[in-house]
Every structure is written in structure tokens, then in C-alpha cells.
Amino acid sequence: MVILEVENLTKIYVVGLLRKKEILAVNNISFRVSEKEFISLVGESGSGKTTTARMILRLLKPTSGSIRFQGRDVWSLKKMEDLKWYWRQVHGIFQDPFASYNPLYRIDRVLNQVFNLIGDIGADRESLIREALKEVGLRPDEVLGRYPHELSGGQRQRIMVARCYLLKPRLILADEPVSMIDASTRAGVLNLFSRLRDEYGTSVIFITHDLGLAYYVSDRIMIMYRGEIVEEGSPEEVMENPQHPYTRKLREDVPLLYRKWSGF
């Protein structure tokens, strides 16, 4: 079952005060996401990945095109209860988790906010929070009571994943969610996304520039280049039989463990 439909989505940023300049950040992209699907959006820096995610999350108004979630046009939602419904179902994890935390709130509060969306659950909030922190590999006593700036980048990213664990949304948009987590423990955090999918049917749009990561976690990979989706397919198709020149270059440039770059 399709839960998200993106059609002809376009974003043009207008920059500059005197001499206005237009930046075509996202150029007429369309795609669908099914229930339980794990999709990766892969592309180089500046290709438009974050812009796409922000439009889906209702943080940035599209220039044109439509986004429908469970059949409802996302940008037509106006009533508070509809918006709350959307935020409950669609959750974002941002590239820079520092920017998305209020620096004056302790971690306890950051996590407790989730319950404003879920409503009363009748369970012990504190123990739910502790459990979620342990799931993402954090020691609750080490992080609760601290402020965001007192944690490392990797720890802040884990807190974001813990939030997803409490909220159990239908769709997660994760923008480089493990970029600051050490490679040695990264697979553990990635498993949590797969578990959310398996246990609660959550879909994931995973944004990364790491083709290797995308290859292992996703059902489908979309390659983004200069604002357009230039290629799309299963991880095997994209890796073994890339069609677009940009995908081919990307594949050649990824460093591998058991093969050297040609000429090195």
C-alpha cells in the first residue's frame, strides 16, 4: 500500500536582495513510498536531498507540485488536529541534531515532548524513556539531566532515534541520521530502523551520501543529482548495473575494502 505520493515537486530558492537570483534546488521530482518500505535518497552535497525532506515535513513550502500522505494533501492540512495527526505519523530526524534541539532544554524534556503528540498512554513515561535510550545504546543516567551541548554529535543523533522509538511514526524522514556515529557501532543504530519497520510497519526515507550505507539498508535507492532523481532501482540494480553517468561515477569513486581504485 502506498502511503506517500510525491508528484512534480519543485523548489526554487530566491536569494539576494538587490540582484535576485534563483536556485533550482529540486526540479520536478516524483516518487512513491509504500508501507514498510525503506528508501534511500543518495546524492552529493547540494543535490537537493534536505530540501526535499523539508518540503515533505511541512517545514518548507514547495514552489510547485504535490505531496500526499495517506491520500491527504499535506500542504492543505490547516486545522491543529490535522497537523497533530501529521506530526504524529511523519517524523523527521535532521542532519544537524544540534540545530533541532532547544539548547535550554535538558534531554529529559526533549524526550518528554514526544508524549504531547502521543497523548496519555497510561504507562510510566520515565521508564519508557529509559528503555528507549537503552535501545539506542545510551546509558540513561549519563544523558538524562544533561543539555544537548554536553553530548557528542553521535550521542545527539542517538537521542533523535530514541525519539522515533517512543513515537513509532508511520514514516520517518532521516537526513544523514548516523553521520556522526562511529562506523563500529553504526550498524546497531541502523538495526533499530529495521526493527521499527518490522514491528510497527514504519516506512523510512533515508537520506545519505554514503552509497554503501544505502546498499545495505534499503529496499530501493533513488539517486539525486542537481535537483533531479536521475536513477532509481533495487540496491543490486543500482550497484551492479548503473545507467546514469553520475551513478557510474559515484560507484567508481566509492572506496571499497577489497578493491583498489584503478590507478592507485
Binding site: E44, S45, G137, R139, S152, G154, D182, A183, S184, T185, R186, A187, G188, N191, H209, D210, L211, G212, L213, Y215, Y216, P235, M239, K249, L250, R251, D253, V254, P255, L256, L257, Y258, R259, K260, W261, F264
Partner: protein
């Protein structure tokens, strides 16, 4: 033949009444002509170690113990002013982890270059500029770059420029600290190409490359040293580290790599449970024991000795024989 030899080096940060034991009894050597990779999780002490290797030490960091010999000279006993005059830039240069932000925004690239030379030579400004233009051409960097400001360069270009400037005086040893971690793959490759070119052209003799990315080390390193919680736990050839890792931590690191290739897909991806320890109060015995799947009672009690299992291959683990 070794270019750099460090023995029993301890470098601690003193904060309040205690020490962060960021480099704790490390012995390491860099062969002449070789590229050594240094890998480990963030916070394990890689940056502290490489800065210590060239005696770039400032409070709160202190050299507690050990000797460092570079090109036959005992630099661990030199004063900072002597190091500045005779060692840094000439015998050894570092491209620090934060190099991308280190360039002053109000100075053109060429002005940085003039400053460097001014300190070490009595060449005229015109001579300096023409020499630098030549070096840039040799390295396939457009000399026009010299007349730009840092903000006019992309991240990858800035990194290449910093590398080119750091090696103008042909240092024997170049240390690069995570030069590619913030760059996308195509840009990473260009930066690494430049380093390989410098090495092949013998502008630099040896290199220490710091990263947490083993797939990058595969491309360039002859040998890899694995660091964990302030200690070196294994040193071996790149092939040995990747195909037959001996230390349980090395094995954990290799098996966590997610590169898109069939060998890795077949092998499967695992991760190391838990988090790296706090270096203010590291675990007793083997520092890896709380996360090690093979740990025995002795591991908690006794620090494992460094065992030379073969020529050119060392491992610090009580159970190493059972893994061979």
C-alpha cells in the same frame, strides 16, 4: 629503515586534579618511504597521538613520558622555539583535523604562502611566488587559486590547497588528520590522489594518514595501526588487517565496514556493542574488555603485553595465540 620512532609515549591532558590519558604508553614507528594508516573510533586519541609524534604539544596536553626520534634527531627533548625553527614544516608537517577552518578569511592564499617562506628562507617575494606557482602546476592545481580568498574555494579544493602549502618545503614526513571525513566520495578521491602524487613524486618521503575509514586506508596505506582508548592494539600490513585481523577490536572494526561490494555482503555486517570508554577513568586490564566478546577473567585484571607475533606485526591481546 625508520624515519620516525616513538617509544613508550604518554601524553595526558591535565584537567582539574586528574588526567585524560589520551595517549598511554604508545610505541610506533614509521618506515622510510611508507604510508602508515592510523584508525580507531572518535575520541580514542588519534589526533592527540599524531600531534604528540611531532611534539606539537600545548597545555593542557603534556608529554608525561617517552622518546620520539625523527630522522635521527631526538625531538622529544627539543624546545618549542627550536622545533619551530628546525623541525616543523621542514622535517614534518601536519594538516590538522580542523584545517578547513584554519585559513584566515581575510587573507589570500598567496599571503599564507609568503608567511611560511618568510619564516624559513631569505628568498625574495617574487622568487617565492614563482616557486609556488611551479609547485601548484606540478600538482595539477591551477596557480590562479593563489589569488583567491579561502571562502572562494570549495571544501575539497581548500583541503588540497592546505596540503600543497604544508608540503612546500618538502618535509620528510607528512601527517594528515582526517583530511577526507567531511567530503563527499568524489572529492575524497581527488584529495587522496593529491597525497599519492606527492608521495610518488618524492616531495614527501613518508606519511601518516589518520581516519576512521578503513576503506580509504585500503587505497593508500602500506601498514595500518589500530588505536583503542589511548593505546595501539594492533599494527600490521594493510592486507593482514583486512583479511586476517587478530585483535578482537580490529576484527570488530573490519566487520562493521559497510562498503557496497559482494565480499562484504557475503560476510555480513556486525557492530561492536557498547561505547568507547571514558579516558578519564579507563577500564582496568585490557581496556577493550567490557566490549570484547572473548574476554576472560585475566583480561579484567592484567593489561595485555604487546606481542610481536611476526616480523612487522604486533598485537596486544591475551588470547592472540588462540586466534592465529
Amino acid at each position: 629503515m625508520t624515519l620516525l620512532e616513538a617509544e613508550h609515549v604518554k601524553a595526558y591532558y591535565s584537567i582539574r586534579n586528574s588526567y585524560v590519558k589520551a595517549v598511554d604508553d604508545v610505541s610506533l614507528s614509521v618506515d622510510r618511504g611508507a604510508i602508515l594508516g592510523l584508525a580507531g573510533e572518535s575520541g580514542c586519541g588519534k589526533s592527540t597521538l599524531v600531534n604528540t609524534l611531532m611534539m606539537n604539544i600545548r597545555p593542557p596536553l603534556r608529554l608525561i613520558d617517552g622518546t620520539i626520534v625523527l630522522d635521527g634527531i631526538k625531538i622529544s627533548e627539543m624546545s618549542r622555539s627550536k622545533l619551530k625553527k628546525d623541525v616543523w614544516g621542514i622535517l614534518v608537517s601536519i594538516v590538522p583535523q580542523s584545517a578547513l577552518n584554519a585559513l584566515m578569511p581575510t587573507k589570500k592564499i598567496v599571503d599564507f604562502v609568503k608567511d611560511i617562506f618568510h619564516y624559513h628562507t631569505d628568498m625574495s617575494r617574487a622568487e617565492i611566488v614563482s616557486m609556488v606557482r611551479k609547485r601548484f602546476e606540478e600538482l595539477n592545481l591551477s596557480p590562479e587559486i593563489l589569488h583567491l580568498y579561502p571562502h572562494e574555494l570549495s571544501g575539497g579544493m581548500k583541503q588540497r590547497v592546505v596540503i600543497a602549502i604544508s608540503t612546500l618545503l618538502n618535509p620528510k614526513l607528512l601527517i594528515v588528520d582526517e583530511p577526507t571525513s567531511a567530503l563527499d566520495v568524489s572529492t575524497q578521491k581527488q584529495v587522496i590522489k593529491l597525497l599519492v602524487d606527492l608521495h610518488r613524486a618524492k616531495i614527501i618521503e613518508s606519511m601518516v594518514f589518520v581516519t576512521h575509514d578503513l576503506a580509504i586506508l585500503r587505497q593508500i596505506a602500506d601498514k595500518i595501526a589500530i588505536m583503542y582508548a589511548g593505546k595501539i592494539v594492533e599494527v600490521a600490513s594493510t592486507d593482514d588487517i583486512l583479511y586476517t585481523p587478530l585483535h578482537p577490536y580490529t576484527r570488530g572494526l573490519v566487520n562493521a565496514v559497510m562498503t557496497p561490494e559482494s565480499e562484504v555482503r557475503k560476510r555480513g555486517i556486525t557492530f561492536i556493542a557498547g561505547e568507547p570508554p571514558n579516558l578519564l577513568n579507563p577500564p582496568s586490564g585490557c581496556r577493550f574488555h567490557p566490549r570484547c566478546p572473548y574476554a576472560k577473567p585475566i583480561c579484567k585484571e592484567v593489561e595485555p603485553p604487546i606481542i610481536e607475533v611476526r616480523d612487522d606485526r604486533i598485537v596486544a591481546c591475551h588470547l592472540v595465540e588462540s586466534f592465529m
